[in-house]
Symmetry: C2
């Protein structure tokens, strides 16, 4: 790999060998339902607890990704996973089943892209042939942990996003395949001073704008160099601010920008308030929709900017503001 | 870097440029007190909340590590930090102050070594000149989050470890210095079926034994090749099982094994029950005591095996067992 500018890196030889996207019922009936590899129509994924349900999602994603490329777990040199649960218990309780070197990572809803970035850096650095990356989230584990148990039936403000139920896995390799991971920009933590944990889209927008600005600066590229700029998950509220901030920086996104959380659901009809979110959200959008569209040759080169709000309920109760991060990667068709 | 065996890696060119260890009052009056770079005698570290106190610890560690080698934050290509707090808020709220690319990682009390391992892999892969790694813990943030608020005054079983108040930072570089990080073994998650969250030492012992066994196998080395085998943190209970398990595998630790949590405190006198623990514990022992002893040429080559218990209180309440991990690195004097 080659470091570029302050925060970016060019990967010489990193490919997406295989990927998978697993969702829940709401994701299945949403606009991207047909791009999922599998969806559980039971919210418990046929398990007894919400945690076991989320483990089932990422476990299924892992198996499907391996099946698609005819690899087995023995071929995988390292797993890099994360989720929203305290102490990453979904990733950890999944991985106790498997005998594979493991790294746990966390950057909230940006975890998916941090896992790809780390995996790509290690592949390009010469560690191993196959690295598996991924992340998951579940509506019910997140609601209970970050807000209230669903049984409480609390009212929700319109700025709130809805945590997606789903998981995504990517298998990175140094051997050529159809999609190449060519570059990335590592995020810095930006705290814009916002305090409303029910409006994380707006809190994360400055981090997304900063990372995009840094990315374009580091590589001396423009918006025109990409077929699509995908954020995840800025919500309807944050997406608006994101565009405005970039305009202020002299960058016109034109019609290139979409937000993963707004693609995944029919926002109004499916009552997800300001959009979808969660570390499974951009995972499903990337490994389900975007990758498949690249295979269909709809997109040649895309930039995925995953955003994460890095607070917890204790810090919010203490009156703290919300620090956020955004990591970006570039995916290109290799032919 | 070169991958070795199933889980290990040899680093070609990774050095520990600088390091720092910051503790609290209990750590200062313990056996390793004189090896700390600084200690806060106020449990709140002159801040208002326990979280701010823990942030002060890691912030001080960061500053001292930079000062020691006359670098500034602008020289640092990437920060890799983690802590025990939900959503890694200590690392995240620290890093919002600084304008540096950031990765958050988590493996409980093994976080320190996961951060070094990841940093070393990235340095050796060609990303950047200086990467900062580290981890922290604070008795009070951990007690409240994993057990009870200290005000509750709950009784503690003798198998319980006491979360260390402290932090450690290492600055890795590709430019030669006195201590070289030569190799590492990435852990796999091992769940031995234990359920007692008040006895994590015993729960983690099998993961430590597995990683040591794998390490010796991958490199075809023996215990005799190291001056010291340091675990952290297995407690008095876990250390005993660790030795017994290895004996069963035909490996005699002789007098080479010490546990970081047992070095940091005078266990009986300081009433830390079965020993010290927490992601700041092995950080302080490594960056304070071990590194300084290497500079004094007491040790030429040491193996540090950091262990982490990867559960959270929800999983324990659901009757779940405790998955654990251990990551190992080799430090050598380069002359």
């Amino acid at each position: 790999m080659i470091k570029v500018g302050n925060s970016s890196v060019i990967f010489k030889n990193v490919y997406l060998k295989s990927s998978s996207a697993i969702g829940g019922k709401k994701e299945l009936v949403g606009p991207l339902g047909s791009f999922l590899d599998y969806a559980y129509t039971d919210a418990h994924c046929n398990e007894n607890t919400w945690e076991e349900a989320e483990i089932a999602l990422i476990d299924k994603a892992l198996k499907v990704a391996l099946e698609k490329c005819s690899l087995t777990l023995h071929d995988i040199d390292l797993m890099i996973l994360g989720d929203l649960n305290n102490q990453l218990v979904i990733s950890h309780y999944l991985m106790r089943k498997y005998d594979i070197p493991f790294f746990g990572i966390y950057s909230a809803c940006a975890t998916c892209v941090q896992s790809i970035m780390t995996g790509a850096m290690l592949i390009d650095g010469g560690f191993g042939k196959y690295i598996m990356c991924g992340s998951s989230s579940h509506f019910a584990t997140s609601e209970r942990q970050f807000r209230y148990p669903t049984e409480y039936g609390g009212q929700k403000p319109t700025s709130l996003t809805s945590t997606a139920t789903g998981a995504g896995i990517g298998i990175l390799s140094n051997m050529p395949s159809f999609i190449k991971i060519t570059a990335g920009t590592i995020g810095k933590i930006i705290d814009a001073g916002l305090t409303d944990a029910n409006d994380l889209g707006r809190a994360m927008a400055p981090a997304a704008a900063e990372t995009l600005f840094e990315h374009l600066h580091d590589f001396q590229t423009t918006i025109d160099d990409y077929d699509l700029i995908v954020t995840g998950d800025l919500s309807t509220y944050g997406s608006k601010i994101f565009k405005e901030m970039l305009k202020g920086l002299g960058i016109d996104l034109k019609d290139k920008h979409v937000d993963g959380g707004l693609l995944l659901y029919n926002v109004e009809k499916q009552k997800v308030h300001a959009g979808g979110s969660g570390s499974g959200c951009i995972s499903m959008v990337l490994y389900g929709y975007l990758v498949k569209r690249m295979y269909e040759e709809r997109f040649k080169r895309i930039l995925v900017i995953a955003t994460g709000a890095l607070m917890n309920p204790i810090m919010i109760c203490q009156g703290e503001t919300i620090p956020c991060i955004a990591h970006a990667i570039v995916l290109e068709r290799s032919n």
